[in-house]
Subunit: 348 residues, 3 copies
């Protein structure tokens, strides 16, 4: 439980109203009850503000007049909420140690403050730095390094030689450092190309459930600091992702493509291989990216769903475009001839 | 082995021909041999009916005359087949108990009839109800509840606080309750927003291999009763899926979208966040859904593949649409002027 | 360390220059330093050839004149590189044996040369042939067979009855033999259809991280020899994939579709169910395949991303196609009438 005034001080927000209000939990503006703090970031929810049951609301200065309860004033209410919620719901401390059922290679270096959970497996020459948490069922293969205070939640696989930064959070089922898709063709049959690079993950990265990041073919696959990868994403070998780029679920980046800093990729975006995407580039969901985009900006290439009957007509029209163009050309010729005839007639 | 007459009685179908026929297994209509029962649901396969080697066929009344073997008559042969196959291939009974290699927190409540397999990990305050089966390598984190007769096949991860209903079946590699993709932006860098909701999965749900369902940000992510999720699906935080909706592989639903009852989503469908999809809405494969559809119906927005040379022309034509429209407008003006000239001429 | 002349002999390439050059590792042509061998397969990288720091380059005969260092001449430099890299980076030998923490059913048949890693689980009647390696956290369910020298890297799940060929490599998180998505509809509610087929994986197949392959509904799902499946792929029940076909990440193949030999599918391709794709068919990334393509060839159906402002105009134009066609028809009629008028006038 926090006094609202204390929260204001801790997160650097301006107090609105009674600082003695007690905050016990967070909730949505529409569902909140006594003891809750909520936030108003999206104007779509502003109509809930006069009647919210929350004890406090985090909001912009221009909305403050409509608040019937105490609050925190912020230029960025969602960010302030993130900080408040981190205070209300701190990540639990955990004593270091290795669970009796875990299997740790004698040549691994485990900091005494690191925790290795049940049925986790730690390979040869692995280094787990201070405060690292390796959850149940995780496998960390030989020679990987997990930086300070990073956490593998459960059933995560870190393949050999991977280097993970500090404060990295990796969700269940993610696989980091699997072999890239490298195949040479020998008269039709595929011959595996050994994948000898590694994956380097920067500090403060978060990687979602069942996301996969392949190791480099020769040099390394690199995930920059502060990058956010959602669930079910595929990052192929040699990809470089710049700092603070965020990628939504089900996206796929093919081999050797580099993506800049501060980019955002919507869900299901696919990017071809060997491309160069600049900083501050944004792709909307399900876009297919087949060429480099080095300039900052917003890019799309997807057709939104409509009722089937409309869609069938749209496809039919697209198929008839060739005949439309031919008819248009024929008509242009005809009208031009007519004009010539008319001009000739006028000169008669 | 079943007498056909017994199967008829057990599944509530009408017997066609000899009820003494012995059924030992199921097979496809084209491959079936003696002892097999097959079904005819899709008219595409009707030409196999006169010559099938099966001992019995499940079929519609209107097809019965063409059957050369015994059968079961049903309005819904595929449904009747599902029931027959469940009798022929019952799920094996399994004695309750905890494998010696499993790690179970002393504060977990495990029903004596529940089974916990090798190398599974059960956290603090977890409740496994009667008949639950937690397969090898599964991790069930703290405070989760798994309802009666539900089964986690293998290497499934259930994150903390998840509530799973009865008779739920979850396939290998699925992750339920991972953190949602909640990030506030602080001058370019992302700040994690704690995800404090949970996932609630209704009764009789089936969740496919490597599918991921994120926990709610504040309130809960809800999978309604009887829902079917195929493999490789991503369900983001706060999504609500209504009862008996079926979603095919590789689909992705972004945060806070609600989907009604009895919907179907084809493979690879992507739905944006914060939308409302009504009951009985159907999206064809790879559709991108960017707005709410509250009315029942069929919706699409995908372009089927064609030979590359045709496709290149289609793209070129789409790119030339602007010039087509300009040429058309110019021509309209010209023809209109001609008409005016002609009219003027006629009045001369 | 290898003498270049020895590498040439081992991989069957022609030596260019000094055969005594010592090769210790592989690297990219642009980054290579002394001791490294690199390759030049893509002409885009040819400008690095005169200045590469490598000790040797694998290249085509026509590029040999520009090389300033020793080399190997090959018609297929990438293939030759694959073979050289396999010599430089051999897969480590591993003694057979079962780790103390693994759980092996007493009725499993484990060849003495097979290795079962920490926390792996091997079910009843499983057969692991000579040289098999089952990595940490893998689960091999009852009655599966893993052929000689195949390897499951880590946290792989092989469901009951799966048959895996020789020299197959399966990456972390992959699930082979999970239930297909078979559901019969009973007045709105779904009834599970038991999935009683298995998965058969041919020799020399490689399956990527977190890829899923469902078991057959009645007969089997078949992955032909030499097939390459990248990460995050979904293969539904009863699918047949011909030998030496390669499928890139995030693709999905719906049930009962058969794909021929020597095909390639780009990333994110979706193929509908019950289709027949011939040999040597190639689909570009994110194509949606809704009909059979039996002829060899290249097929596409995707719209590449462009700047948003252009894209909005494109969508608007596609939506206005109907009115374009109506205007065109009206204009055609009008011009035809004018012609008739003119003709009539000329005959006046």
């Amino acid at each position: 439980m926090f006094r609202l005034a204390d929260l204001a001080a801790r997160v650097g927000a301006e107090l609105l109203g009674d600082g003695e209000v007690r905050i016990t939990h967070a909730d949505t503006i529409q569902d909140a009850t006594e003891g809750a703090i909520c936030f108003l970031a999206n104007s779509k929810y502003r109509h809930y503000l006069p009647t919210t049951g929350a004890s406090a609301v985090i909001l912009r200065r221009e909305d403050a007049a409509q608040a019937q309860v105490a609050g925190l004033i912020s230029d960025n209410p969602y960010l302030t909420y993130a900080r408040v919620a981190s205070l209300l719901y701190p990540v639990a401390d955990m004593a270091g140690g290795v669970h009796a059922s875990a299997v740790v290679d004698p040549d691994a270096r485990i900091d005494p403050s690191a925790w290795v959970g049940p049925c986790a497996v730690i390979g040869k020459n692995v280094e787990l730095q201070a405060g690292v948490r390796v959850g149940p069922g995780c496998v960390v293969e030989d020679a990987s390094v997990i930086g300070e205070n990073s956490r593998l939640v459960a059933n995560v696989t870190i393949c050999s030689g991977t280097v993970i930064g500090k404060r990295v959070l990796i969700h269940p089922g993610a696989v980091i450092g699997s072999d890239g898709f490298g195949n040479a063709n020998d008269r039709g049959a595929w011959v595996k190309v050994p994948q000898i690079g590694i994956v380097r993950v920067g500090d403060d990265v978060e990687i979602g459930a069942n996301t996969t990041v392949d190791r480099g073919a020769l040099r390394d696959t690199v995930i920059g600091e502060g990058v956010r990868l959602d669930n079910q994403i595929q990052i192929a070998h040699n990809v470089q992702i710049g700092a603070h780029t965020a990628i939504a679920g089900c996206a796929g980046i093919a081999g050797s493509t580099s993506i800049g800093k501060y980019c955002t990729l919507g869900g299901g975006v696919g990017i071809s291989g060997h491309l160069e995407i600049g900083d501050n580039v944004h792709f909307s969901g399900q876009s297919l990216v087949t060429r480099s985009f080095k300039e900052p900006g917003y890019y799309s290439g997807n057709l939104p769903a409509v009722p089937n009957s409309d869609w069938r007509k749209t496809i039919a029209r697209i198929r008839r475009l060739e005949s439309v163009m031919q008819r248009l050309s024929a008509l242009e010729k005809q009208v031009m001839n007519q004009n010539t005839d008319n001009d000739a007639a006028e000169q008669d």
